[in-house]
Symmetry: C2
Subunit: 266 residues, 2 copies
């Protein structure tokens, strides 16, 4: 069992990934594909005169401020990507089945009703935020679908205890899924070769991080890489033996990641 | 087993329907909810500077001309409605699970690569159209989900033999589903009381149509009602014993439809 997460950045060609998934699926591998959608949501928000707003937490993590309208834009943008991926996989003959974490209580989460942000050097509180953190996977639902031969493609939403839809971080959602499903590996595909010692030098790839030392590498992570390392740490804590951060922009991105071409955390 | 179809017109309050579904679900009824989304797609298309274009077939049926960009707008708009419905049902404690006909090959259809239209009194051919007609239901997938206790909420897409996403008519899709699932009834909720003898007189409701005489009532149908009667006929042909066209804008719309408040075709 593999859990694979891909980003949703503009202009990504998903053809190599889908072809690679088809190869592994044909070889009997069970795969769950999780995707992002932030960039699509940003673009759609701009076109709908509701541009994205990003906020920084005191910890330095940057996240999207999700008012209700932004949540609906996020729902639409992630659904479009989800359906495009399902369509592309279906075109290869794969029984792809798109879900969001909202469906059937697939990902249950806690809503952050208020978030503490840092703006102009000061901390303040934002309300009406529809982001959250997933904490529980409806594993029987996924197992039922996997047993029936389907390839789940999952959009980064969760459902709160009150039934509310929540925007969640896809890397951390994928980590939670990988742990719940007992995946042999979590592969986080991105648009860089992996974790870099120097963010400006793509050849400065860190090829291996012992799981116990992951914390020490956190200072090297910038921007979204912070969430990927956080997701990696959560997956390891959840019992996933191996997490690979790897480049999703090349041929056979998944097989290459599994061969260790990237940053392997184990 | 009931299959219920609701429209996607602007300003619809889905609260009464969702509450009614919760009552029937609690009483042990199996329900599949199918929704439209044309109006949401029209509005989104306008906002994204890609307004809808409707075309008339020689038969008089009016349908949306769906170029690729329109298909993607349709995907987003129907997904938003799907997720809003799932969210509202989840808020009532129901295990709603959103899918489109694309997912897991739920609805397989034929693409109309070219469509014949009537424009300014002349027939011509349009290409690059992404509409289609569903012909096959993945019944085992739905049965698996229903057996596991889920309440499927289905967006009107189908998948072609080549894996392409297709915009399908939701009334006819619901009819196909009702037949495949052996539903006791198909309820088509709309914004009129049912089929009217006089489209301008909401009190001129036709309360009962013997299934064998349905054809004779076709001339009374205008606009979208044509597709509803076509769907009703297809459901009856598919073995569904009862189809009800009823008003979705009132309290307990489903229970009232099942009590015969609407146009009952049986």
């Amino acid at each position: 069992m593999l859990v694979v997460k891909i980003g949703g950045a503009a202009g990504i060609d998903y053809t190599p990934l889908c072809a690679n998934i088809a190869e592994l699926h044909a070889a009997g591998e069970r795969i769950v594909l999780v995707h992002g959608g932030s960039d699509g949501a940003n673009q759609l928000g701009m076109r709908l005169d509701h541009p994205p707003r990003f906020v920084s937490a005191p910890s330095g993590h940057v996240s999207r401020y999700t008012d209700r309208q932004t949540l609906e834009i996020f729902m639409m943008a992630t659904a479009l990507l989800n359906r495009q991926l399902v369509e592309q996989l279906a075109g290869l003959g794969l029984p792809a089945l798109g879900l969001s974490g909202l469906d059937g209580g697939l990902l249950r989460g806690r809503r952050k009703d208020t978030i503490r942000i840092v703006e102009d050097g000061r901390q303040r509180i934002l309300r009406d935020d529809w982001t959250g953190t997933a904490h529980t996977v409806n594993t029987p639902l996924l197992t039922t679908l996997l047993d029936a031969g389907y390839l789940p493609v999952i959009a980064p939403l969760a459902v709160s205890a009150h039934g509310e839809a929540l925007n969640i971080d896809a890397d951390r959602g994928a980590a939670l899924l990988a742990g719940a499903l007992g995946a042999a590996a979590l592969v986080l595909l991105t648009n860089v070769p992996g974790l870099l010692r120097d963010v400006y030098d793509p050849t400065a790839l860190i090829t291996h991080i012992p799981a116990a030392e992951l914390e020490q590498f956190q200072p090297l992570a910038h921007g979204r890489m912070k969430k990927k390392l956080l997701g990696a740490a959560e997956a390891i804590q959840g019992g996933v033996p191996q997490v690979v951060l790897a480049d999703g922009r090349r041929q056979q991105p998944l097989s290459r990641a599994l061969r260790g071409e990237g940053t392997v955390i184990a």
